[in-house]
Amino acid sequence: MGSCFYNSHLLVTQVNTCQLPPLCKQRRRQINGSQRAAKVVAYHGFKTPPYKLDALEPYISKRTLEIHWGALHCAYVEGLDKQLGKSDVLYGYTMDELVKATYNNGNPLPEFNNAAQVWNHDFFWESMQPGGGGMPIQGLLEQIEKDFGSFTKFRENFIEAALSLFGSGWVWLVLKREEKRLAVIKTSNAITPLVWDDIPIICLDMWEVSNYISPHLMLFLFHSSE
């Protein structure tokens, strides 16, 4: 096992296979990155969604999640582990740091696709919750109303972005750090607003696999505590 350098937290480099649950979790306050409560796992851990695989029915079927999470997301984690195993350079990075570092200012390194897709999918599962939907509350709702006019207008904006995305990609509600306002953005393939140092609030996976096996309506379920 290598040594940790400048990071103040310990990282355990046990490799998780997709059959085992994630072994090691450690919470720490993140000094940058996303606003949500930070969970730092061994960076090649395969996190389970925070609900059972059938919990999002009828909107997203258990079958879809079994394949989308169990096979596809898992493949990204395994792919990433393989790449990270080959080199020490990226040792000790948290997922947020790894995504930004491998993005390499627009000239992505080979690890970027896997790293970003692992991050994106982790975030996607957390963007949804059983019995969710409804409205955001408090600060987020106020900000939405301020930046979009109303929650309905925001929702329309978001859906329009999703339906007009060509090919594979993601739709995001982000907080733009510089402009200090919310925005709906589309990204292609694995790109995530994290690379521009913006703060994702929720995301929607618009790769075909996301709604292919179970072609239901795109009713997304908000995580209301941001």
Binding site: I67, A71, L72, A75, N113, F166, G167, S168, G169, S188, N189, A190, W207, E208, V209, Y212, I213
Partner: protein, 206 residues
């Protein structure tokens, strides 16, 4: 004024599959062929019919509508072109699917790639490496009389890679082309599709 545009409209239609939906099984399932043809390709056709609106936006100097429709039509028109060719690139095994190319095309492939297997390996590698959505194409570059392969992203038609390029064979690696059957095992899909490739058609084009 719209008469000329309406003429164009009539020629954009969904071509029939040259075989039954399930005729390519087990390589490609009937379910995929049906949805791929009647839903995805049909959508590209329907959206390509927006062309008269683009012409109208141009004549009215409505720049923002113009730009938006241009990208819609590039995408959907490309999708229509690519898929129309791709149905002909496949054929049931009983009709010669998978039979290697002979004569002129066969020798061209052997001389340029070493063997058909080498070309297939290259196509599969490029197909597997493509991130996101696109196609891998074997084409003829008429200007230099050579067989070449190209990767296309999204629904860009081959012409965007070179004016003298003509597709001989295109393999769709969008997830919708294989997901229902192969899930995320794109490599397995690529290995299997060669069993139903229509080299006869490719030879005719060549």
């Amino acid at each position: 004024m719209l008469g000329g545009q309406a003429r164009g409209l009539q020629t954009v239609s969904l071509p029939d599959l040259p075989y039954e939906c399930d005729a390519l099984e087990p390589a490609i399932s009937g379910e995929i062929m049906q949805i791929h043809h009647q839903k995805h390709h049909q959508t590209y056709v329907a959206n390509t019919r927006l062309l008269p609106l683009l012409l109208q936006a141009i004549s009215e100097a409505d720049v923002s509508t113009n730009v938006q429709l241009q990208s819609t039509i590039k995408f959907n028109g490309g999708g229509h072109i690519n898929h129309s060719i791709s149905w002909k690139n496949l054929t049931p095994i009983i009709d010669g699917g998978g039979e290697p190319p002979r004569e002129v095309l066969g020798s061209a492939i052997d001389s340029q790639f070493g063997s058909l297997e080498a070309l297939i390996e290259k196509m599969n590698a490029e197909g597997a490496a493509l991130q996101g959505s696109g196609w891998v194409i074997t084409a003829k570059a008429f200007a230099i009389n050579k067989v070449t392969n190209k990767t296309l992203l999204l629904q860009d038609p081959l012409i965007t890679k070179g004016a003298s390029l003509v597709p001989l064979l295109g393999i769709d690696v969008w997830e919708h082309a294989y997901y229902l059957q192969y899930k995320n095992a794109r490599a397995e899909y690529l290995n299997n599709i060669w069993k139903v490739v229509n080299w006869k058609y490719a030879s005719e084009v060549y």
